[in-house]
Symmetry: C2
Subunit: 268 residues, 2 copies
């Protein structure tokens, strides 16, 4: 539902008890919607929330973006209303909220990165999920407020590279795209899955790995893969392969006709 | 404000970008309000939120509980409305929300405890604060749904004892009350401060410490100190000192007249 308010007793507000998806739509379709719905379903299972009515959600998302050629639909699913206290009510009525906005193409294609000071805590119970507890990302994003940087890379408490504040990170080493696991912290991003289905591999990455990588790319479900051109004093020179990744991503949204993943034969 | 709805673009809902206080009131006063306001102010500083108008908040809290002899006022302070994205808007207009309910005295005085499986992640940037990212507590509280237990004790990822899902934990060893530090995770509770001002000490605690303790007490701002009578198969026999702690706590709320801490001469 395209709500403008939510009840003040919503558990999403009080405890962050819920999940979200940020879905890129094109011409009234959401080409990666299957993946978003799969991740949402997995998140519900892990948080112990009832599975949403996916068929109805799909229709609502399609209706929400019908009038815009390119749109972002943010879906928030919360545990719904409840009395004070961490214990959920015996009967849970989850609440969904859709917010639509036109997609603007003015974001910088090439990114200037920094390292964030804030370290992500490792919490396997929440890792991988796009849940509503995002204070770490909010605090990390507060570390800069100039145009000098577009995004910040985040480490975990043991100095493993995990992600950017609002994107997954990939580096290319010896012609292989690599991205960190998200079993301890981080989000199993939709743009990350798109890269994995194209042959990228999961591997723990150190700060030194990112420094010596041939390329560094950030990706999320809205912007797709974007090349880093700098990380502090390190410079990257985006090459043809990076540019072709980007155009393959944009191709998924050129017509919006499929309604499936961009490469349905490899989708589960 | 005693809102029944909040705008759907509130950052408290989307990111848990905010703080809360659960304040016990008696006869139109909140005896521990100073402490709540101090913690809220500290939380705002650490999260980078503008300090609220404390004078006005105090008045609103007093008005909210004026008609009830014993009440719980929950104050939620969020970063307010904002566009999509972790970056806060340049001008932040925090939102406050008050919810009032009568205090019921039907809670069990003596508690049956268990150990929670979920381990708290160590995140020093958020530790001690009563922020709105509470999924760990929600998941821990989901581990039981019978009357067999009243609360669950939580460990951190390195098996240090930290707290219960909605209370701080104290044990007594060699006539000294002890409670774990909250610099890595956990909340600097109001009931915890009350115990510290009465001579309790901060010390790292192990599972074994809790097992061999003479007494185990949980405390929060609403219920005050409550004795554990069991933790799994371990039995505790609450003694006169535990009962006198409890009655000293209740004495703070017997008239509600002070408007200060219960022991103003030791308040900072």
């Amino acid at each position: 539902m395209n709500l403008t308010t939510i009840p003040a007793d919503d558990r999403g507000l009080h405890y962050g008890d819920g999940l979200f998806e940020t879905i890129r739509c094109a011409f009234g379709q959401a080409p990666l919607l299957d993946w978003h719905m799969q991740r949402l379903g997995l998140g519900c299972e892990r948080l112990g929330l009832p599975l949403p009515d996916v068929k109805r959600l799909r229709e609502e998302i399609r209706d929400a973006c019908a009038d815009l050629p390119h749109a972002i639909v943010k879906l928030v699913l919360t545990a719904g209303s409840g009395p004070r206290g961490y214990a959920r009510p015996p009967v849970l009525t989850p609440r969904t909220l859709l917010q639509v906005q036109p997609l603007r193409f003015d974001a910088a294609a090439d990114l200037k990165l920094r390292w964030c000071d804030l370290k992500l805590a490792r919490q396997p119970a929440l890792a991988g999920l796009k849940h509503l507890n995002r204070l770490e990302q909010v605090l990390a994003r507060r570390e800069w407020n100039t145009d000098e940087f577009d995004e910040g890379l985040m480490l975990d408490s043991e100095n493993r590279v995990i992600c950017a504040t609002a994107a997954n990170v990939f580096i290319r080493m010896a012609d292989q795209w690599l991205t960190p696991p998200v079993e301890g912290c981080g989000v199993a991003g939709i743009g990350r899955r798109w890269m994995l289905e194209r042959g990228a591999q999961v591997r723990e990455l150190s700060v030194a790995d990112v420094g010596r990588a041939e390329q560094c790319v950030l990706t999320n479900a809205v912007r797709g893969p974007r090349a880093a051109i700098s990380l502090g004093s390190r410079r990257y020179l985006p090459d043809e392969e990076v540019r072709s990744l980007r155009s393959a991503w944009e191709q998924c949204f050129a017509t919006g006709a499929s309604g499936q993943g961009p490469d349905p034969q490899v989708s589960p």
